[in-house]
């Protein structure tokens, strides 16, 4: 079974449909229509937020990351080429910021621990107990590997599209996917055992 090849392209399955419906919506949004901006937000928020969460495993940070990505998108909407799909543009921002956030958190730990005051005070409340087996399994991966899994299986991009989003060679994407899936498979088997 080829896990990488079996999932259809997001651009073929989803984005084409989005594009047709999205173009007029983006045009109206540019002309100031709040309902159309809201439609874009409601359409894309759940995946963006979930993608960020699955990479960073911190709900407060995921909210910040997704929110900042939307703000960046809104600020740049007038420069956005409406012929292109909106989602990859947004997801590129979300996933790259999520990777950066996770790396910087790891770096702070290496340097002697997080500064208490710079942690979200509510992060303990809002970071779910890692009860879900998928979240636990993902936690064993590096942020870069989590990102390719999320892009491939949650957001349904092809490896070629992921290479574009993360600005990586396609071969690197494929090897990361393969390693990530092997590790996930081991984790799930351990869980079941």
């Amino acid at each position: 079974m080829d896990l990488v090849a079996a999932v259809p392209s997001y651009s073929r399955m989803g984005m084409a449909g989005f594009r047709r419906g999205e173009r007029p919506s983006i045009r109206r949004a540019r002309s100031g229509s709040v309902p159309d901006v809201e439609q874009l937000f409601r359409e894309h928020w759940p995946r963006a937020y979930r993608a960020a969460y699955l990479v960073v495993h911190d709900a407060a940070a995921a909210e910040d990351i997704a929110q900042e990505a939307f703000l960046a998108a809104v600020r740049s909407l007038e420069r956005f080429d409406a012929r292109r799909p909106f989602a990859p543009w947004l997801h590129r921002i979300v996933v790259n910021r999520a990777i950066d956030w996770t790396r910087s958190r790891s770096l702070r730990r290496e340097l002697g621990g997080d500064l208490v005051g710079e942690q979200p005070a509510s992060s303990a409340d809002r970071t779910a107990p890692v009860s879900d087996e998928v979240v636990r399994a993902l936690a064993t991966l590096s942020p870069e590997h989590r990102a390719v899994v999320v892009l491939r299986f949650l957001l349904e991009y092809t490896p070629g599209e992921i290479a574009g989003v993360l600005e990586l060679p396609r071969g690197t994407v494929n090897s990361r996917l393969r390693r990530a899936l092997d590790a996930l498979k081991d984790s799930f088997e351990e869980e079941q055992a």
Binding site: V7, L115, T127, F188
Partner: protein
């Protein structure tokens, strides 16, 4: 496990607080979108607007309801009011001003009499004006308005920005170094509330919930319970605000920074964001119009060095302008006068506001009033105006 199963597992993960996060974020994104139209980027200004009084035009265009008027007392090229009283012989409204200068903290009564409370750097009134919380160096002190010390708290760090809880006055919040602390109104029970905060005075929510808003080092505004330390809400990361203020009914929180004025609902939803192009303009201060959720604010136009104050009326915005920076906006306790500090003119300007600016009462020679002997020093800062009746 195949691809579809993995995808289903990923889709089945629901981050905690998902709906609330969506709601909060939509409020932020909507506000950003709505203000985008109101404040076009500087490069998109028309030559006409750029040539005219652009800061005023932008702000007023953005905030004035359709068909409303912009009036007021526009003296764009004047430093100071020529008709200013030469000395501070009285205040135009009841109550007492609390003022700090490099020579200490002062109370100014309505009849113009002044009393120096001691060698403190900052101060704030207790809710009914019965006490003053003053800070200097490592010490926080509770004073009576005649300067008698009721109690003190000393910390290893430099303390500042003491704020008395509204209503009961049972707590005083203050900053100690990078941390935020709370002590009882009797000086007992001093404790840490937050270990790392931005250098911004905290703001108590003026309802009986003992909740305090502050800005953390990442620029988030947080509302926390002073007793249970439970976080009620927080905003996303942002450039730290320079000032926080609750409306008197506790329903709205105002946060301002050099290029952005934000208004939040009591639940943390962003409801208004006024963005100012940063290359040309700088927000110098903002405050709620008492008893309303309207905002009075002052903006400096960097290219001309001119400041303008904007105050809402029912259907219009009043504007007062002058050369130099306006540093502080302070409402009188009876809510009828707005005190404007104008250091470059060495004046305080009192604007009578209800129903629109009706009278202007300016007082000159302010610096000398608070530097007896030398008459020279940094312009005094108005810390508060309390209390009517």
């Amino acid at each position: 496990m195949n691809d579809a199963e993995l995808r289903q597992k990923l889709l089945s993960v629901h981050p905690p607080d998902e709906l609330q996060a969506e709601r909060r974020s939509w409020n932020v994104v909507r506000a950003a979108w709505e203000t985008r139209e109101a404040y076009p980027a500087e490069r998109r200004l028309s030559p006409l607007l750029a040539a005219a009084s652009a800061a005023a035009a932008l702000v007023v265009l953005a905030l004035t309801p359709v068909g409303s008027a912009v009036g007021g007392w526009i003296k764009d090229t004047v430093v100071g009011r020529p008709d200013a009283r030469p000395a501070l012989d009285s205040l135009p409204a009841p109550g007492s001003l609390l003022v700090s200068s490099a020579q200490g903290v002062w109370v100014v009564r309505a009849d113009g009499s002044k009393r120096r409370l001691g060698d403190y750097r900052q101060a704030s009134w207790s809710p009914r004006g019965l006490f003053v919380a003053a800070t200097v160096g490592h010490q926080l002190a509770a004073l009576e308005p005649d300067g008698d010390v009721r109690w003190t708290v000393t910390r290893p760090q430099v303390v500042s920005d003491a704020r008395w809880m509204p209503g009961t006055g049972f707590r005083v919040a203050y900053r100690a170094g990078r941390s935020l602390r709370v002590v009882g109104g009797d000086g007992e029970g001093d404790r840490l509330l937050a270990p790392s905060v931005a250098p911004v005075a905290p703001a108590w929510q003026p309802i009986e919930n003992h909740a305090l808003a502050y800005v953390d080092r990442a620029g988030r505004i947080r509302l926390v319970g002073a007793d249970d330390r439970r976080e009620r809400w927080r905003t996303g990361r942002a450039r730290p605000a320079l000032g926080l203020e609750w409306s008197r009914d506790g329903k709205w929180l105002l946060a301002w920074s050099p290029n952005l004025i934000r208004r939040y609902a009591s639940g943390g939803q962003l409801v208004t964001a006024i963005r100012v192009p940063k290359r040309r303009y700088e927000v110098l201060g903002a405050t709620f119009k008492p008893g309303t959720r309207m905002i009075a604010y002052t903006v400096l136009e960097k290219t001309t060095g001119k400041s303008s104050v904007f105050v809402y009326k029912r259907n219009s915005i009043e504007r007062f302008s002058g050369l130099g920076r306006f540093t502080k906006l302070t409402w009188s306790p009876d809510r009828k006068w707005l005190l404007l500090s104008w250091p470059s003119a060495d004046q305080w300007v009192f604007l009578e506001i209800p129903g629109g600016v009706r009278r202007i009462d300016a007082v000159g020679g302010i610096t000398a009033e608070f530097y007896p002997g030398t008459g020279v020093g940094a312009f005094p800062l108005v810390e508060g105006w309390c209390c009517a009746g």
